[in-house]
């Protein structure tokens, strides 16, 4: 379980000029990242008549509006305020293109203007309501908080891990364990027997000669009586280095 984010969700009610409630309830606001937890607010009301409406602005947990603009001084909700502008026009929700629910492009919308012709800047304290000249009302009813979680569950991941570890084990074995065939041949001769030891490696095996020699020594030292050991003979000629030729060691009893 993962915590993706958290923040404030003020309860805002928007009615259109005809009096219909077109948006109500808690709206998730996205923190901007500053110390005061100022959060971006976007409400889309496509059912507003005569024009679709979008309410855009900031939620400020401990708000102030000064020459730097609307900002929050402290992350706790000591003086919650909303600073909003209302825009109208075609929200583009019917275009068939997916949109981000937390963002809106206001460049294609018209801001609702006041008597002086400038866009109306609404500032709401908790419990207040504001009426725009064209009849739209926005009210700040209450404050909730939210947290976003991600819950991930993959029932097969432990088996993926187990099988990959087993595969790695097999890989290590196949790469580092040399595969060899070793022969020991006993040939009776007058006065004893000749022991021949030979080895053949599956592929490159630099230790083959040594190990065959070691085996021959071990076998011959287990015998009693005089020992004659001739040096290992390495076959050469047309055999490519990949196939190590047989090596023989003679041991006489």
């Amino acid at each position: 379980m993962y915590l993706l984010g958290n923040g404030y969700a003020p309860e805002v009610t928007v009615t259109d000029p005809e009096g219909t409630v077109v948006a109500e309830g808690p709206i998730i606001t996205v923190p901007l990242g500053d110390m005061g937890y100022s959060s971006q607010l976007v409400i889309k009301a496509p059912d507003a008549r005569p024009e679709q409406t979008a309410v855009v602005g900031f939620f400020l947990p401990t708000g102030t509006i000064d020459e730097q603009g609307p900002r929050s001084l402290y992350p706790d909700a000591l003086d919650p305020q909303l600073a909003l502008t209302v825009h109208q026009g075609d929200l583009g929700l019917d275009d068939g293109i997916p949109q981000n629910a937390y963002e809106v492009d206001v460049s294609t919308l018209t801001p609702v203007a006041g008597e002086d012709g400038d866009p109306v800047l609404i500032r709401l304290y908790a419990g207040q309501e504001y009426s725009l000249p064209d009849g739209t009302t926005v009210s700040f009813d209450g404050l909730r908080r939210y947290a976003a979680f991600d819950i991930a569950h993959d029932p097969f991941e432990r088996w993926v891990l187990i099988s990959s570890l087993v595969a790695v084990g097999g890989l290590i074995l196949s790469l580092f364990v040399p595969r060899r065939r070793v022969w020991v041949r006993v040939r009776p001769t007058e006065g004893g027997a000749v022991l021949e030891v030979a080895g053949l490696a599956r592929s490159d095996d630099p230790m083959l000669e040594e190990d065959v020699q070691a085996l021959a020594s071990k076998l011959s030292s287990a015998q009693e009586g005089p020992r004659m050991r001739s040096p290992a003979r390495t076959g050469d000629g047309p055999l490519r280095p990949r196939m190590t030729p047989l090596k023989e060691v003679h041991s006489d009893q």
Binding site: A152, E157, L161, V168, L171, L175, D204, D205, P206, P241
Partner: protein
């Protein structure tokens, strides 16, 4: 808290290490050049005396012929060349040769390199691999350590010095110029995660081994082509075949392509295991941090691509028609993917592994 003095010491150490590596590179190159010179001298002497010609002819032909399995036949025969009977300027044992000088400098440089990396770790109180600068300096230090460890015992590998020190030097210079950032603390999301140590640590080992393996594979390709050319020329009747002039003489002194091939295989096998663990540990960490063990993030994808290419290399070696040079080509393709993963994916492509802050 960042210990600024240790951070300064780290920078200083690395800069001095760069200087020492440059000197070591000169030494190794002088070693190769003088080998070429000695071979030319001997060739001249051989042409003037019929006995010497036989020794040289034999050596030149074995340069291209089949070597006995597992043994360093080439080095054996060329080893004979370095103890000449015609006194072509051999040094008395115990004197400082270019190669010894270079090797000592390389050791000194590596020591300072490791000290630099360690000082950075001590300064920041964490493992020294949390940004591109630290990753590059740590993995290049590992390349040098691996090379030194290999060539302390197997002295015939020291002659590869130039070709190992050069990429390490290049990486260090890139790190100091483009990727360097002041020693700083980790972002909170990365702190207290043991996976940082495990996953990135093994990725560093994998990268270092891939660099070393690529150097060996590239040399193997050149050597194989050189040997083929020499064999052709010898069978065409040339007495003392030559190919690629001075560079060819240098190649004659390097280990045979068979030896390089088996060395490349061993390095790449270990690197492949490390890349596999990088992927697995990365997936486990991703599950913990991001909620899923695989999300087709660009770096995840490219590490997987690296893994597939190296897997193809390992398979190629076991496949009849693809051994030798073709397999080496695949190994080099894998290395290109490693470089791409480290540079383009980190800086240009957008994803969860973005190193925009380097």
């Amino acid at each position: 808290m960042i210990n600024e003095q240790l951070a300064e010491l780290s920078n200083l150490s690395l800069v001095v290490a760069i200087v020492l590596y440059v000197l070591a590179m000169f030494g190794f190159s002088a070693d190769l050049a003088s080998l070429s010179q000695r071979r030319s001298d001997r060739r001249l002497a051989a042409q003037e005396s019929p006995d010497g010609a036989r020794v040289l002819h034999g050596a030149a032909v074995t340069a291209g012929g089949a070597s006995t399995a597992g043994t360093d036949g080439r080095s054996g025969s060329t080893g004979g060349l370095t103890a000449p009977t015609d006194g072509a300027g051999e040094r008395t044992p115990g004197t400082m040769t270019a190669q010894k000088f270079a090797f000592l400098l390389a050791i000194a440089g590596t020591l300072l390199h490791v000290v630099g990396v360690g000082a950075r770790a001590a300064a920041t109180q964490r493992v020294p691999w949390t940004n591109m600068y630290e990753f590059a300096t740590t993995s290049s230090a590992l390349v040098m350590v691996a090379f030194l460890v290999f060539s302390i015992k197997r002295t015939e590998l020291r002659v590869l010095g130039t070709f190992v020190v050069s990429p390490v030097l290049l990486v260090l210079l890139l790190a100091q110029t483009f990727w360097i950032v002041p020693a700083a603390a980790l972002t909170p999301s990365l702190q207290n995660s043991h996976w940082l140590i495990i996953h990135i640590g093994i990725a560093i080992i994998a990268t270092a081994l891939s660099i070393l393996g690529a150097v060996v594979a590239a040399l193997q390709l050149l050597q194989a082509r050189h040997e083929r050319a020499l064999v052709e020329k010898a069978s065409a009747g040339e007495d003392l075949p030559e190919h690629w002039g001075r560079f060819g003489h240098v190649l004659d002194r390097l280990p045979s392509s068979t030896v390089l091939e088996s060395l490349s295989f061993r390095i790449h096998s270990t690197a492949f295991v490390c890349w596999t663990f990088t992927l697995i540990f990365g997936a486990i960490w991703a599950r913990e941090a991001w909620g899923r063990f695989w999300g087709w993030d660009p770096k995840e994808v490219w590490t997987f691509i690296i893994w597939v290419i190296y897997a193809a290399y390992l398979h190629a070696r076991a496949t009849g028609g693809f051994r030798g040079s073709r397999a080496a080509g695949l190994a080099l393709a894998g290395f290109v993917a490693v470089v791409f993963n480290y540079t383009i994916v980190n800086t240009v492509i957008n994803g969860l592994h973005s190193y925009s802050g380097l």
